[in-house]
């Protein structure tokens, strides 16, 4: 066997553990979800599940609640991603040049992401919606009452999800973009400093050079926003007034026992995310020739 041929076999062998893990954990669940979304599977029905084709999807398209949840989800994802990106870019720019105490500010910016979300989300929830009388609960309750009064019940809980998402996400993006800025040779900035100033330099030099990092950050932010069921669930303690697609699917499946429609609901967004990924790949994974 040629040495190249052997190399290729070695490559497959080395990829095997990761692939087995990914396929082993994901393949069956994803396949199940796709198949069930085409049936009327439900523990409430007698007999085996019937194949219903695209009926579940068709029914979604005519459902007012679905469109409401879809709107909330998309608005939530786009708004939080934009804010996270803006704040993250701000953090990265703030840290770009050396100053006294930079290491400390960097650590502070790194903290919200490093602090495990599994437990900080619980802390946020109790702080913003205190379950028992504490020294701050009167203040928080009045905030909650006034926000809910102005925007409708549950608005405060939704706002706290948004705040949490932005707080944690901007930290990740800030640190990630700082890594991107470090990759830009300082001479480039110095040249640009002579040519043009301020905003123009930012749009003409910094943003294009950071593009791969920005694209990757946007993608990760979008996927977490779309699938952030846990945060919404936890931060609203299941009392969901502004449903997102994730919570609606969960509700349908676990409380309603309607697995068919729930699976359809869960999968509805996948094509859009894939399309976004394909577009973004061009930015952060350009073909070899273009990388010069």
């Amino acid at each position: 066997m040629s040495s190249r041929g052997r190399e290729v076999w070695w490559a497959y062998g080395l990829m095997a553990p990761a692939l087995v893990l990914m396929v082993g954990v994901m393949a069956y669940p994803v396949g199940w979800e796709a198949w069930v979304s085409l049936t009327d599977l439900s523990p409430l029905n007698d007999g085996p599940a019937k194949f219903v084709g695209l009926e579940n999807y068709r029914r979604l398209a005519g459902d007012v609640q679905f469109w409401w949840a879809a709107t909330v989800t998309v608005v939530f994802a786009v708004v939080t991603s934009a804010v996270k990106l803006a704040v993250g870019v701000g953090f990265a720019m703030l840290l770009a040049r050396p100053f006294r105490g930079r290491a400390l500010v960097f650590l502070a910016i790194f903290l919200p992401w490093a602090y495990p979300a599994s437990v900080s989300v619980i802390g946020w929830y109790w702080t913003l919606n205190p379950p028992i009388p504490t020294a701050y609960s009167a203040f928080m309750s009045s905030m909650k009452a006034s926000v809910d009064h102005a925007l409708g019940g549950g608005a405060w809980a939704f706002l706290s999800v948004t705040l949490f998402n932005v707080w944690r996400g901007s930290s990740f993006i800030g640190v990630f973009l700082l890594a991107g800025i470090n990759a830009i040779p300082p001479e480039l900035f110095d040249c640009a400093r002579l040519e043009c100033s301020g905003w123009r330099r930012f749009w003409l030099v910094t943003v294009p050079l950071l593009r791969p990092f920005l694209a990757l950050a946007v993608f990760l932010s979008l996927t977490t926003a779309f699938s952030d069921l846990a945060n919404v669930w936890m931060l609203t303690a299941g009392r969901i007034v502004f449903p997102v697609i994730g919570t609606q699917a969960y509700w349908l499946a676990i409380k309603g026992g309607q697995f068919g429609p729930a699976c359809a609901l869960a999968l509805v967004l996948v094509p859009f995310l894939l399309a976004a990924l394909v577009v973004l790949f061009r930015s952060f994974d350009p073909p070899a020739e273009a990388r010069a």
Partner: protein, 290 residues
Amino acid sequence: MNGRAGWRRLVHGGLLVVTTLYCVFPIYFMFVQSLKTAQEDVFGNPWIVVNPTLENFEELFERKGQAHNFVGRVLQRDYPFFVWLQNTLVIFGGSVAITLVAGVLAAYGLGRLQPPGFRWWRRAIFATYVVPHTILFVPLYQVVIRLGLDDNLFVLLLVYPTMALPFCVWILSAYFQHLPRAIEESALVEGASRVTAFVRVVLPMSRPVLVAAGIFALGTIASDFTLASVFLLSAHNQTIPAGLATMEVALDELLAVAGINLMAIPVVLVCAMFARGYVRGLTAAMVEGA
């Protein structure tokens, strides 16, 4: 003194202060709560702690085996916190290790040996991030039961790595791909085998990227609480996030806040220790031939 430069410095300084407060305040707030006595939690000043005490932390470990207390007419549960702590350590350490080993192997295969279509392999692995986790645990549970692994800690050792692997494979393989070939070849010329060259030359060089992958994996794994609470049912099998979610908030608020801190502080310390390496590694991975 130049007026304009003075303003600039003032704005910069102001932004730094605002940034730091915005990032640290929620964490500070949770930390302060955990140091309070029940008395101070209700009547004290919410911003500060006047009589800091570690009794909440002590109670976390001591509650077990003690006579049950009654608050009003409700029985206070006891929590096997020490067991949760051990489970969490095993799961986090194990998952990060599995992620790194599987990730490095795959990344070397993809980035260095470059089988046909390796870009598409890499993209396909990364594309698994579009799968929403919403109700994925329902079919996953079927698999778990079929394997006889329900309510077993080791399920998470299989599931957690898949959450971090795509990103880790991505940055590691990008790094290996752009590493100059000459580095390994000189070792090969001197008669070292490919494996030796990898272990002796390539791995030590990639330390920052390994750190970046490891920290990303730890951050991702530590943020999950849905899967942990779905798969780990009995109290002695739970990790801290899953266990805390079962706590009776109304009775044990301070205890739970102490639990939050006890889990978060070690994770934060590890992350902080490697924070610089994390940034350096991300830079190295995204820049060719770094």
